[in-house]
């Protein structure tokens, strides 16, 4: 599974999103999740293509699933569900 966190320079909320994601990837990923940070000012065309409206936003496997910071619980649920789907 490939996760992208869309962030912008100086965005404290984005830093928080990355911390939450890093923690969840460690807890539920088991090496099956790759994630990267996308600076929207560096990759603006890509962010616009995916429909990113604000930061932080989170895309999973090239699809924008969260257009704002989700709760840790919600994000955990999504990751676990996706991993289950991939395993079957």
């Amino acid at each position: 599974m490939k996760i992208e966190v869309f962030s912008s320079p100086g965005c404290a909320k984005c830093g928080h999103a990355k911390d939450v994601l890093k923690k969840l990837v460690g807890e539920v990923g088991g090496g099956r999740i790759d994630w990267r940070e996308v600076n929207v000012l560096d990759e603006m065309d890509y962010a616009v293509k995916l429909g990113v409206l604000s930061t932080p936003a989170i895309a999973v496997d090239g699809k924008l699933l969260f257009s704002s910071l989700p709760s840790e619980k919600k994000l955990r649920k999504l990751l676990e569900q996706r991993l289950r789907e991939q395993a079957t």
Partner: protein
């Protein structure tokens, strides 16, 4: 406190609002989307953003004048408030402060289905709230509807102007570098300005 000081503050703080880190990405993405669209659509979206934001800011300031008696601030309180706000800008660079954006479209039935430009216009991002509060405080002190309208239009207009420029001209690589540097530096610039204003008011 003079009308000229209010007008100057509203214009400066409105422009500064665009460059705050929680605002710059959202508005730059909006510009990039608008730039990629046909000219009439781009204009319509910019107009919707500007009109909605102007109505929101002006409306809030007019309601404030209507409902709030002119406060008596005393000699020290304004400086204390400005210094506290400045400190929040500095602290927020190092610690995540969970302050939500004020999304007024959520108060409207079906507000989440409104066009993105209108939703953006009806949102006061968290890091611009202190800037708006300063204008708010100055407006209720001067207690004038005309000044509420003038300062609201200036704040909203200058807040929206960089978005409009980027949407019409597109964003060059140099522009992107400038915005990245701005996003990192603006909190410190804002804090510096607020500390300077706090010190000036004490003199």
């Amino acid at each position: 406190m003079t009308a000229a000081a209010l007008v100057l503050a509203a214009a400066l703080l409105g422009l500064l609002a665009f460059f705050e880190p929680c605002t710059i990405a959202t508005h730059t993405l909006f510009s990039a989307r608008a730039y990629a669209r046909p000219w009439p659509v781009c204009c319509r979206e910019l107009l919707a953003l500007w009109v909605t934001r102007s109505l929101l800011v002006t409306g809030l300031l007019m309601v404030a004048v209507l409902l709030t008696p002119p406060p008596v601030w005393g000699a020290v309180l304004p400086s204390v408030i400005l210094a506290a706000m400045a400190s929040v800008y500095i602290v927020s660079r190092f610690v995540y402060l969970p302050v939500p954006h004020l999304e007024f479209h959520r108060l409207v039935p079906g507000g989440l289905r409104l066009p993105a430009a209108v939703q953006l216009g009806l949102t006061l991002p968290a890091c611009t709230l202190p800037l708006f509060v300063i204008v708010f405080g100055m407006v209720i002190t001067l207690d004038s509807y005309a000044l509420a309208v003038a300062s609201g239009l200036l704040f909203a207009g200058l807040f929206t102007l960089p978005t409009a420029v980027a949407a019409v001209t597109g964003l060059s690589a140099g522009g992107q570098r400038f915005l990245k540097a701005s996003a990192l530096a603006t909190s410190y610039l804002t804090a510096g300005l607020l500390y300077a204003a706090a010190a000036y008011l004490l003199l």
